[in-house]
């Protein structure tokens, strides 16, 4: 029987593939990698591209990953796929955006009378209504 290794492809949002494989191809940052069972332990980043898995019954499975991490152990390979293309400046922009949002929210304290207050008022009004009903009923008796 041909040697196999266990392959897991997971992203933060879901598990994509899990099962045995004879061979795996992945686009490493330092060049494409072809991995067979009993590979030395390796930890690397992968580029956006295609991951190819050769299953024990000689079928090929393709997955597109937009980058991530690849962990190799002699009997198991794990691909931690990113859900989107990551680059330093894109992350930076997202961070700035988050900061801006916080500042903006602090700036207009009065703006958009929030939903929360309105809701609390509504709840209070409902409670009052209920109380009035109870009172009416008592008096009616």
């Amino acid at each position: 029987m041909a040697m196999t290794m266990h392959v897991d492809v997971v992203s933060a949002e879901e598990a994509i593939f899990s099962g045995p494989a004879k061979m795996l191809f992945a686009p490493g940052v330092m060049g494409d990698l072809g991995i067979m069972p009993r590979h030395a332990p390796l930890l690397t980043r992968i580029k956006p591209g295609e991951v190819r898995i050769l299953t024990p019954d000689d079928e090929e499975q393709f997955y597109y990953v937009s980058g991530g991490m690849l962990e190799i152990q002699p009997e198991a390979v794990t691909i931690l796929a990113d859900t989107a293309i990551r680059a330093k400046d894109i992350d930076e922009a997202a961070a700035l955006e988050a900061k801006e949002r916080a500042e903006k929210a602090l700036a207009d304290r009065s703006g958009e009378i929030d939903y929360a207050t309105t809701e609390a008022e509504l709840a209070e009004a409902l409670a009052q209504l209920q109380a009035i009903q109870r009172l009416k009923k008592k008096l009616g008796r």
């Binding site: 949002e13 332990p41 390796l42 690397t44 992350d91 988050a98 916080a102």
Partner: protein, 286 residues
């Protein structure tokens, strides 16, 4: 006859409210199931990374990444995960109480606090009570993408890198069961590696390109995935809390309707009895 017209209209209005709460209950129930699936789907990723980190701690004891090192605490960061919408019972209130509790603890040790909010309710809360909010993300919807969180988490990670904060916590509602949601304060940074024994021999990874870079990437993703999990778990908690709250509201509306109907029938009976006695006494007078 106009007996108890007010009561009739009241019953109608309560019935309408009941219809709404019942619909909300059912919507929340189906959303909760989906959120639970998402919770389960996001678990393997964090588990795998945790495994890798465990290996690392063993294979590479001489190299210490800053995310793994304890240091003196002068300032802490909090990521507070709340829901965007209300009408979910005491879920957010309980969360904020727990959060304020641990904020106070740090405050008494005269440690400063940076806060980062996820979800509209947390943003609103800290706007009201004050607090140093450095980043914010809201309106993530029912199926948040990890992309929406990257920026927010990065603000905190950068602060940690530059030594502005020395510890990072996440506060969220843990989904225990449909009926029970438990507010949790969990430490994200420095990462608490479990010191589990059980590796017979020493080995190390080959790193491509370099250990430090690869580790930074890995640990960043780990923290992100933990925050993502907290968010997804909080959504499941939100939906189940809403479901329970709306069920209680529907039940209460049902009770109210019963009481009102009873009052209406009594009033009607009284009116009829009175009429009859009037007729009888009128006939007797003739």
């Amino acid at each position: 006859m106009a007996v108890g017209k007010e009561i009739r209209t009241k019953v109608k209005s309560v019935q309408n409210t009941q219809k709404i709460t019942r619909a909300m209950e059912m919507v929340a129930a189906s959303k909760m199931r989906k959120a639970q699936d998402r919770m389960a789907a996001s678990r393997p990723y964090a588990d795998k990374i945790r495994n890798v980190i465990k290996h690392l701690a063993h294979a590479h004891p001489e190299y210490q990444h800053s995310y793994l090192q304890e240091r003196d605490v002068k300032r802490v960061g909090f990521i507070v995960v709340s829901s965007d919408r209300g009408l979910c019972g005491g879920l957010n209130a309980n969360l904020f109480r727990t959060c304020i509790g641990s904020l106070k603890e740090w405050d008494t040790k005269s440690v400063e606090i940076d806060i980062c909010t996820i979800g509209g309710k947390a943003a609103g809360f800290f706007k009201r009570v004050g607090g140093n909010v450095v980043a914010e993300a809201s309106q993530l919807g029912d199926a948040p993408a990890i992309n929406d969180l990257i920026g927010t988490v990065k603000v905190m990670l950068d602060a940690f890198d530059s030594g502005k904060i020395d510890r990072l916590y996440v506060v969220y509602n843990e989904f225990v069961s449909t009926m029970v949601q438990d507010p949790q304060v969990e430490q994200l940074l420095p990462i608490q590696a479990d010191s589990e024994e059980g590796y017979a021999h020493q080995w190390d990874y080959l790193y491509e390109p370099e250990a430090k870079e690869v580790l930074t990437d890995l640990l960043t993703r780990y923290v992100e995935s933990l925050v993502y999990q907290a968010v997804v778990e909080n959504i499941a908690s939100e939906q189940s809390a809403r479901m329970v709250a709306m069920k209680a509201a529907s039940d209460n509306a049902g009770d109210l309707i019963d009481e009102l109907n009873l009052a209406y029938n009594k009033a009607r009976q009284a009116a009829i009895t009175q009429e009859i006695s009037e007729i009888v006494s009128g006939a007797a007078a003739v």
